[in-house]
């Protein structure tokens, strides 16, 4: 079509028999289109987000400054919910549990992902199949993961204790203690997300120039040395991304421990709250005890801790150059 337009003026005098009376209108429409369309395209996002995202966020802060129960808004109590929270052993316990499981899940997960990506980053047959195999765990329904691993970590009938029995370890009551329940829950998280992180690392690794490794080979650097001295520094943006996103996800841990809990004590994270996370505590306060004000204060604390950890992560990863 553009060629037609360019050819027409060759015939002089006779103006193009185009829709000349409509031209100004068409030009106006076209200007409206180029000026207005971008905003029209973005509008759905901002409208939905304002109503269901931004407003609730601010409102959480407002609710947290009130004594607010199922019967409705009570009085404004300032920071009383927060003062109470800081003196609440259950809150500190939930924070401790969350951070503990966060460490147990994130560190091995990212380390194994790195090694796995290193293995995948070689000339291999059936690459797509291997990559799909690695990604398989994240396409499992999350509650299904909870159910399978709950059974594997059952005290009496579980496979974990069966295997440990083979090497002479006495059966462990996985739900009874902090360390054992944390280990079981972190195993679920690690299992589910390691492959995904490995693929992100792999994607980043593929843009590292081969010559770097060849040079290192000549210098006699071993595989592990190359991983630490070449690969990790070269894929730093991907590492930052995975560290931050696993931290945010870990701070919101909810489904796995809830299903692991089974029965009536599920939301409390065991009889002694041994594996109750912050999200579970928020849910318990808001939707079981209907103390919305207190629950909102917990929500804000989760947010602040996430912000703090993200900042620390960022500084540490940035410094460790």
């Amino acid at each position: 079509m553009p060629t037609h337009l360019r050819q027409r003026p060759v015939a002089p005098a006779a103006p193009a028999p185009g829709p000349s009376p409509d031209a100004p209108r068409a030009r106006l429409l076209s200007r409206l289109d180029t000026k207005g369309s971008p905003y029209l395209f973005l509008a759905p996002f901002y409208v939905v987000f304002a109503v269901f995202g931004l407003f609730p966020l601010g409102y959480t802060a407002w609710v947290s400054l009130h004594s607010w129960s199922m019967s409705g808004k009570g009085s404004f109590i300032g920071f009383d919910n927060y003062t109470e929270l800081f003196a609440d052993p259950d809150f500190w316990n939930a924070l401790f549990n969350t951070l503990g499981m966060l460490a147990l899940a994130t560190v091995p997960q990212l380390f194994i992902a790195l090694v796995l990506a290193g293995l995948l980053n070689q000339k291999l047959r059936a690459t797509t199949l291997l990559r799909m195999g690695v990604l398989l765990p994240i396409v499992t329904s999350v509650a299904a993961v909870g159910i399978v691993f709950s059974q594997i970590f059952d005290r009496d009938a579980g496979m974990a204790n069966g295997l440990l029995g083979l090497v002479g370890v006495h059966p462990i009551d996985w739900r009874a203690d902090k360390w054992s329940s944390w280990l079981a829950i972190s195993t679920m998280v690690n299992w589910r997300w390691t492959g995904y992180n490995a693929l992100i690392y792999l994607a980043a690794m593929q843009s590292i120039p081969r010559e770097l490794y060849e040079a290192a080979d000549i210098d006699g650097a071993g595989r592990m040395r190359q991983l630490w001295s070449i690969t990790v520094p070269m894929i730093r943006p991907a590492v930052i991304f995975t560290v931050i996103s696993s931290t945010i996800a870990g701070m919101q841990l909810f489904t796995e421990p809830l299903i692991f809990g089974q029965g009536n004590y599920a939301i409390s994270g065991g009889t002694l709250h041994q594996f109750q996370t912050l999200s579970m505590y928020m849910f318990e306060k808001a939707f079981r005890d209907f103390d919305y004000g207190y629950g909102s204060a917990v929500a804000w604390m989760i947010f602040l801790v996430i912000m703090l950890l993200t900042l620390i992560n960022f500084l540490v990863v940035r410094r460790a150059k």
Partner: protein, 273 residues
């Protein structure tokens, strides 16, 4: 290039076997009867009770499993279609169109990616009560029709996948902007859209905390009804495992159909920061 040693293959195969084992175990127990529970060594071969167990599952009182599956299917499809469409539209605008306030509007979106959903869940619940949407399916759909992560992802993708000349050419041809989006940009965004679609589908299918807060046990999503199963039937392992298996099948199907594209999308760096 160095030759790949067999040890690498062995390690990778072992890692994948470890990845697949819980899924396989899910299938084994779901196809057995309850008397195998606690057997040592555990039975590692599937049995013949799968259909029995699945029909028991759909009959199980209080679990409302069928309803849960239907609800999750509707919600996941609706949210996925909407997120992919609106994210592509906004991503295209950010990547390829010029307009006032673009940087500011983009900053807002990037900022919101940091905010966890839990943060707003209590007021969100209050809004739903006000709308009369408690225990209604739209409560798990409408708030999630757009995604900041999706906009970010599609913007990244559009920047690389759509040449400016293509858009200019379409404009010279007299296409209006939406038509350019629909006929020129959208086809080019397809691989990115596939990744976003799968992750959105999975995310919605797996959403747990919010349905638990806003829905009741008689109108659950599938994860909610699995939780019902695991609290009220937790001695009936084969029933729980059948439920877990059935709840995973749709995700596996989506993955098998689109897996190659998903891997391609991740490898092209669509998920990189």
């Amino acid at each position: 290039m160095r030759r790949t040693s067999p040890l690498v293959y062995l390690t990778l195969i072992a890692a994948i076997a470890l990845s697949a084992f819980p899924l396989y175990w899910l299938f084994v127990v779901a196809s057995r009867s309850n008397d195998i529970v606690g057997d040592w060594p555990p039975p590692l071969i599937p049995g013949s009770h799968l259909l029995d167990n699945v029909s028991r599952l759909f009959d199980a009182e209080d679990a409302h499993f069928l309803k849960g599956m239907l609800n999750s299917a509707i919600a996941s499809l609706a949210v996925t279609v909407s997120v992919v469409f609106f994210s592509s539209l906004a991503g295209f605008a950010f990547a390829k169109l010029r307009f006032r306030g673009k940087n500011f509007l983009l900053m807002i979106i990037l900022g919101t990616m940091m905010i966890p959903v839990q943060m707003g869940i209590i007021p969100l619940y209050m809004i739903m009560v006000n709308f009369g949407w408690e225990n209604r399916l739209q409560a798990v759909i409408v708030p999630f029709l757009v995604s900041a992560f999706g906009v970010f992802l599609m913007r990244q993708y559009a920047e690389r996948a759509v040449p400016d000349e293509l858009i200019e050419a379409a404009r010279v041809d007299g296409c209006h902007t939406f038509r350019i989006f629909w006929t020129v940009v959208m086809p080019a965004l397809r691989p990115g859209a596939a990744v976003l679609g799968l992750f959105t589908f999975m995310g919605t299918w797996n959403e747990f905390l919010w349905p638990l807060a806003v829905l009741e046990a008689d109108n659950p999503t599938v994860q909610f009804s699995l939780n019902q199963l695991s609290t009220s039937y937790y001695t009936d392992y084969t029933l729980m495992f059948s439920g877990a298996l059935v709840a995973t099948v749709p995700l596996l199907l989506v993955f098998l159909v689109s897996g190659k594209q998903i891997i391609g999308g991740i490898m092209e760096g669509a998920v990189k920061s």
